[in-house]
């Protein structure tokens, strides 16, 4: 089996009306043996920006530390916080640096992007393990349950959902997709991002 499936885990991000959501499962395993059920794969970057890192668990931690370092350096040099669009490019180039010996991670990015008019617009993106960016308008998925996530999300997602509807949609999509995947599951965490707050909720899932 591929090294991408070694530890298991999945992440999904969705766009709503003036909001975005990003969610992950909580399982960490070694092949089919589960080690822990509180391994989060989604991390805050700024107050309005999150990154999900499904894939090989050692690289989840390494890249999390790497991105924290690079974002801190950006913040100090630029004297402003990084925007989602810019951060996506940073993620892409960080991964492409390791083109011929990659980190085994497929990042998912979700945040609220500042618009020239002064407002905020939802932003989601995903890349493959060598940093090929995919900007989507609806939803992005990654991880061992990605095929199932695509299927369920395709059926449940609709444009311009309000925050609470988006939360329900992303939660149901994730929980039902990971129940059909042996390598993901064991609970989930959802971050709901709007222009002025982030709501984080832990979900209980099937423990089998």
């Amino acid at each position: 089996m591929s090294i991408m499936q070694y530890n298991g885990g999945s992440v999904i991000a969705m766009v709503g009306k003036d909001c975005v959501a990003i969610a992950s499962d909580l399982r960490l395993g070694v092949q089919s043996l589960s080690i822990t059920s509180d391994f989060e794969k989604v991390f805050p970057v700024t107050d309005r920006l999150f990154i999900g890192l499904p894939g090989l668990a050692t690289d989840v931690t390494t890249l999390r530390e790497q991105f924290r370092y690079r974002v801190n350096m950006y913040t100090i040099k630029e004297e402003r916080e990084i925007e989602p669009q810019t951060f996506a490019q940073l993620v892409s180039s960080t991964l492409y640096e390791r083109r011929f010996g990659p980190y085994f991670i497929e990042p998912v990015i979700a945040g609220m992007q500042k618009t020239p008019a002064g407002g905020y617009a939802p932003f989601i993106a995903a890349t493959d393990l060598i940093g090929c960016l995919n900007f989507a308008k609806d939803f992005v998925v990654a991880g061992t349950a990605s095929e199932k996530l695509f299927g369920v999300a395709e059926g449940l997602w609709e444009p311009d959902m309000e925050a609470e509807d988006l939360f329900e949609t992303i939660s149901q999509t994730l929980l039902n997709a990971v129940d059909r995947d042996a390598f993901s599951g064991w609970g989930a965490v959802v971050h709901l991002i709007t222009k002025d707050q982030v709501i984080t909720r832990k979900l209980k899932g099937r423990m089998d």
Partner: protein
């Protein structure tokens, strides 16, 4: 076969490891200490490639000691775990990676909390209430799912540990005949006879 496991309880971490050194099909030694005392409040059980385990454990031990001497206070368990993980993760993408799996048990004297970390040779780090490495994990993890209690006293914790050792001895084909058990709590690290 090589087996190590650890459990947390009320204010302590217990770590048990087999004591056999194996060469091919031969038991060469049955009194090897595979649990290193890294600092006054840190224990580390190693398993994996024979040469690598000793080399890596000593490298970590010396560097943790160096930090203690330079700063006049030891590295706390979460920081030590992060640093050891990084050492393994860097090693993984080097010319000759260490193949060492670890259990790290520590008592944080600033927060009065015990910590147990599960780590593998890839640099995967997870903080857990109980953990196991090796073939023994297939028996002990299910036992611990049922019997582990984070509020257990040392006596109760040792009873649970005894269950695990007995199960491994009973069911594992090539079971180790002796286990060394060490504890870390508010009084520091010490060995316990079981």
């Amino acid at each position: 076969m090589e087996t190590a496991f650890g459990i947390t309880g009320k204010g302590y971490v217990l770590i048990a490891s087999d004591t056999t050194a194996v060469h091919s099909i031969v038991k060469v030694k049955t009194d090897v200490d595979k649990i290193k005392e890294l600092s006054p409040f840190l224990l580390m059980a190693t398993s994996g490639e024979p040469g690598d385990t000793v080399q890596f454990a000593e490298y970590i031990e010396r560097n943790i000691r160096l930090y203690h001497i330079r700063n006049n206070f030891p590295l706390r368990p979460p920081s030590a775990a992060s640093w050891i993980r990084r050492s393994l993760a860097d090693s993984l993408r080097s010319r000759k990676p260490y193949s060492v799996n670890l259990l790290l048990g520590g008592y944080d004297v600033s927060t009065y909390k015990p910590h147990l970390y599960w780590m593998d040779y890839l640099g995967t780090l997870a903080e857990v209430p109980f953990a196991a490495h090796g073939y023994g994990s297939y028996f002990t993890l299910s036992l611990l799912d049922k019997y582990h209690d984070p509020e257990a006293t040392v006596e109760e914790g040792l009873a649970t540990l005894k269950r695990c050792i007995d199960e491994v001895s009973k069911r594992l084909v090539v079971s180790p005949d002796r286990f060394k058990v060490k504890i870390v709590d508010k009084d520091g690290v010490r060995e316990i006879e079981v």
